[in-house]
């Protein structure tokens, strides 16, 4: 057995190191380290509660809106605030704008460039992969054409945030009582035209078909029919690559999937349902968020708080860089003691998107299904955004004032692009007295818990081949890591 350290991983958001034990050219054990600590949960203590809305988006430059939404929900919960319909729609639009952009960034900028690496030089699709997916930095001129186009489409797409939120990242428009930016009729027509531009990019370049057709794909047979017609599309090329690179055999997840539910409407009914999907029994279960606890056994936090994993409403963050046995700044969140996976795959499974459920029933949660679920979700999000824009009632209120009590508690649960994000706030004497955050990648990239059970990525890496020519590195590990679309700055916060 040899032990190797893989990292730093580029093309993930933030810092990541993976230590692997290798026997006979395959990973037998992995330890995932989030090597950077900033301490947002501590920064917020003693501050005015509304300051959270300025501080928390700056946890993460790529899921900044999601952090704002979680904080605004926690403060709305603490103050019993119900925002007007326009506020609900405007904030859902901002959240969806970011989530769609993040999926696009993941596919084109972070994930697909790996299929232009030398290890694939003999594959029939190699030249085409280079032409479309060559990395923005370090690929030869004339390559990466679709990546470049996707980044341009994304920049244009974020003009939605310029209008709805003033800027991206780090908007201040998202408030417990709604949105600080009202939308006039003239804004709406401009935003609708931006949606049409993105729709055109997606339908011509990514899908080769109308979004509604992609969203409605319901089983492997339907996917096969679409693949013949959309053969020139990037999703079809991805599926060809996935077959040759056997991506469905890589990175098996824990089989339990968590979603807090996404895009709640004015009646608080989410457009994408919340719950737990148990792939083993193919059953959906109810989510009980009181069953969430963070285990710090193998994380660099003070040992005396290890006695019992704590629910985030009573959680603590006391760093201890010298703790024996610890190897990550990430705590290990568990749901009723169990490891769960979260992200677009989880959302689509919980919500019951039939193609995603069918493919996971066949091959499980793996590199291929994770990436495909993200693409399917893109096709489902944009039409929802069109509905919300039409539902806006210009010149009706977008915002309602709120009053925060001097003593209160609040919970804000939402779905970021990468999965379930929760904020738990306590307010005492009108100041923040406790603030705990569990981010999507905190779940997916958790270290071991007290029982020694590895986190989702740690388990998913077992069996991965060390596949580079010198046997020192593993492109398969890179695929598995990136298939989760990790956000390491959120993970530790």
């Amino acid at each position: 057995m040899t032990r190797r350290i893989l990292g730093p991983f580029n093309r993930v958001e933030g810092d990541l190191e993976v230590q692997v034990d290798v026997t006979d050219g395959r990973v037998t054990q992995a330890r995932v380290n989030s090597p950077m600590f900033r301490g947002f949960e501590r920064m917020l203590l003693g501050r005015a509660p509304m300051d959270a809305l300025t501080i928390v988006p700056r946890i993460c430059g790529i899921c900044s809106v999601s952090q704002s939404v979680a904080a605004a929900r926690a403060l709305a919960d603490a103050s019993g605030t119900v925002m007007p319909a326009n506020g609900v729609h405007a904030i859902n639009l901002m959240l969806a704008c970011e989530n769609l952009a993040d999926h696009l960034t993941h596919f084109y900028v972070f994930f697909m460039p790996d299929f232009t690496r030398a290890i694939y030089a003999n594959m029939p699709w190699f030249a085409e992969s280079q032409r479309r997916f060559g990395a923005l930095i370090g690929s030869t001129p004339g390559n990466g054409l679709h990546n470049r186009a996707a980044v341009a489409a994304r920049a244009r797409w974020f003009e939605l945030m310029g209008t709805l939120g003033g800027k991206w990242p780090h908007t201040g428009s998202i408030l417990p009582g709604g949105s600080a930016r009202t939308i006039e009729v003239t804004d709406r027509v401009r935003l609708l035209s931006r949606l049409r531009e993105m729709r055109t990019f997606l339908e011509t370049t990514l899908f080769g078909a109308p979004l509604e057709e992609i969203a409605a794909l319901d089983d492997a047979a339907a996917l096969a029919v679409w693949r013949r017609r959309g053969a020139d599309s990037d999703m079809a090329l991805f599926l060809n690559i996935a077959e040759d690179a056997q991506l469905s055999a890589l990175g098996q997840g824990p089989g339990r999937y968590l979603s807090y539910g996404a895009y709640a409407d004015t009646q608080n009914v989410p457009a994408l349902e919340k719950g737990i999907w148990d792939a083993r029994t193919a059953q959906k279960q109810l989510l009980d968020s009181t069953q969430i606890a963070e285990d710090t056994h193998h994380a660099w936090y003070r040992a005396e708080i290890d006695t019992m994993p704590l629910h985030p409403s009573t959680g603590l963050t006391e760093p201890d860089a010298d703790k024996p046995g610890a190897y990550s700044w990430n705590k290990a969140p568990r749901l009723a003691g169990q490891v769960v996976e979260t992200g677009a795959l989880a959302r689509q499974l919980v919500d019951g998107q039939p193609l995603v459920r069918a493919l996971v029933a066949q091959t499980g949660g793996n590199v291929q299904t994770r990436v495909l679920a993200r693409l399917i979700e893109i096709a489902r999000i944009l039409p929802l955004m069109e509905q919300w824009l039409h539902a806006l009632a210009p010149r009706e209120p977008f915002y309602v004032a709120h009053t925060l009590p001097d003593v209160a508690q609040g919970v804000g649960l939402t779905e970021a692009a990468r999965g379930s994000l929760g904020h738990w706030v306590s307010i005492d004497k009108g100041r923040i007295s406790r603030y705990q955050i569990i981010a999507p990648t905190s779940w997916n990239f958790s270290p071991r818990d007290a029982a020694g059970t590895p986190g989702a990525l740690e388990a998913a890496l077992v069996g991965a081949p060390m596949d580079t020519a010198n046997g020192q590195d593993s492109v398969a590990v890179q695929h598995i890591v990136r298939s989760f679309d990790p956000c390491m700055v959120c993970t530790v916060h």
């Binding site: 893989l6 990292g7 730093p8 580029n10 958001e13 933030g14 810092d15 190191e17 090597p35 950077m36 600590f37 900033r38 301490g39 501590r42 920064m43 917020l44 203590l45 501050r47 005015a48 509304m50 809305l53 501080i55 700056r58 993460c60 430059g61 900044s64 960034t105 900028v109 972070f110 232009t116 690496r117 060559g134 990395a135 923005l136 930095i137 370090g138 990466g144 341009a152 994304r154 920049a155 974020f158 003009e159 310029g162 939120g165 003033g166 800027k167 991206w168 990242p169 908007t171 201040g172 709604g178 930016r181 009202t182 006039e184 210009p394 010149r395 209120p397 977008f398 915002y399 700055v489």
Partner: protein, 333 residues
């Protein structure tokens, strides 16, 4: 000869890189290339793997590769207890602060990308558990990781492309000017920020300026009025061209309905008051425009308040225009 740029991230959110990807161009790599910028490494964009990155840094240190511009995004984490272990560079066993100190010695220019790298920024909030600082500042105090007297090979101090996030144009224009040797000491302000954006105030071209003139102030978010008197806006003191240049198409903080928090300035993360509440003394905002005599401000404010047109007063408390400007010769509808 292209400007060789190495971009590293430390104690930040990665948002300045994400902002860079929002640059208004149909082809970002082509834009950088045509502007004479050769990005040798960027953690979010490069194809190369980890060993290549560490090798590249070693080659820069040994002089094998010419390092023209070292761009650091994110604060420098000196903790715990000065060890730097709050951010270890994966796979090297070395804290990021060690790498940055060494690379800064060989770099022709050193740039702080965003307010975390410039002053510590949001990462240095509150009790600053991570011992975060900027490259050459800790809040407004000169020093930081590299020390008050540091100058890079070019003879310039660290160039602070401050902002939270920083604007994509601020970064691209700074690098482009460096590539053609058109950015010198005189082009940086007293905090070493490029003057092409730091000589403006956020107040300039603010769409709420008429409300400001008449002190017709918003009482709550979504009100159209000026955000300075009640809602914490520091646009009259904040050095940046946000309302001229605009963000993500047509945006700015003020246009998004919320106050400027002066995010290009050192220490903005700990203003000493809640961000979106204006601190006042005897009813007068504490933070007045920095180069205006206070007595004059108070006198003009009370004069303009009494001269406020009805239209401005009514609209300032509405979330849309209730009273339009009158067309000359016509009365209101």
């Amino acid at each position: 000869m292209a400007l060789n740029v190495v971009w590293l991230q430390s104690g930040g959110c990665g948002g300045c890189s994400m902002s860079l990807l929002c640059a208004d161009t149909p082809d970002l790599p082509a834009l950088l290339h045509s502007n004479g910028i050769d990005l040798l490494w960027h953690p979010a964009l490069s194809l190369a793997g980890q060993q290549d990155m560490v090798q590249l840094l070693r080659d820069c240190l040994s002089g094998q590769i010419r390092l023209d511009a070292l761009c650091i995004e994110g604060a420098l984490l000196r903790g715990p207890q000065g060890s730097g272990r709050f951010h270890m560079v994966a796979g090297t066993g070395e804290p990021m602060v060690h790498w940055v100190k060494q690379l800064a010695q060989v770099a022709h220019h050193v740039l702080a990308i965003g307010s975390c790298a410039a002053w510590g920024g949001v990462t240095a909030s509150g009790n600053n558990l991570s011992e975060a600082c900027g490259l050459q500042y800790e809040d407004e105090h000169k020093g930081g990781l590299l020390g008050a007297d540091f100058v890079s090979q070019s003879g310039l101090a660290v160039i602070n492309v401050a902002g939270c996030p920083t604007h994509p144009d601020w970064v691209i224009d700074t690098l482009t000017l460096l590539a053609v040797d058109n950015l010198h000491g005189k082009d940086l302000d007293d905090l070493a920020r490029p003057r092409f954006y730091a000589d403006q105030l956020v107040h300039h071209a603010c769409p709420r300026n008429e409300y400001y003139e008449y002190k017709a102030s918003a009482a709550q978010p979504t009100d159209l009025g000026c955000l300075m008197e009640n809602l914490g806006c520091k646009g009259t003191q904040a050095h940046a061209d946000c309302n001229i240049r605009l963000w993500n198409g047509k945006g700015s903080c003020l246009r998004g309905g919320y106050a400027c928090i002066n995010c290009t300035a050192p220490g903005f993360q700990n203003p000493g008051h809640a961000f979106h509440v204006t601190p006042k003394l005897a009813g007068i905002p504490v933070g007045l425009p920095s180069d205006m005599p206070k007595a004059w401000f108070v006198a003009l404010a009370s004069l303009s308040k009494s001269a406020t047109p009805r239209r401005v007063k009514i609209n300032s408390h509405s979330d849309h225009v209730l009273v339009p400007p009158v067309v000359r010769g016509k009365s209101h509808k």
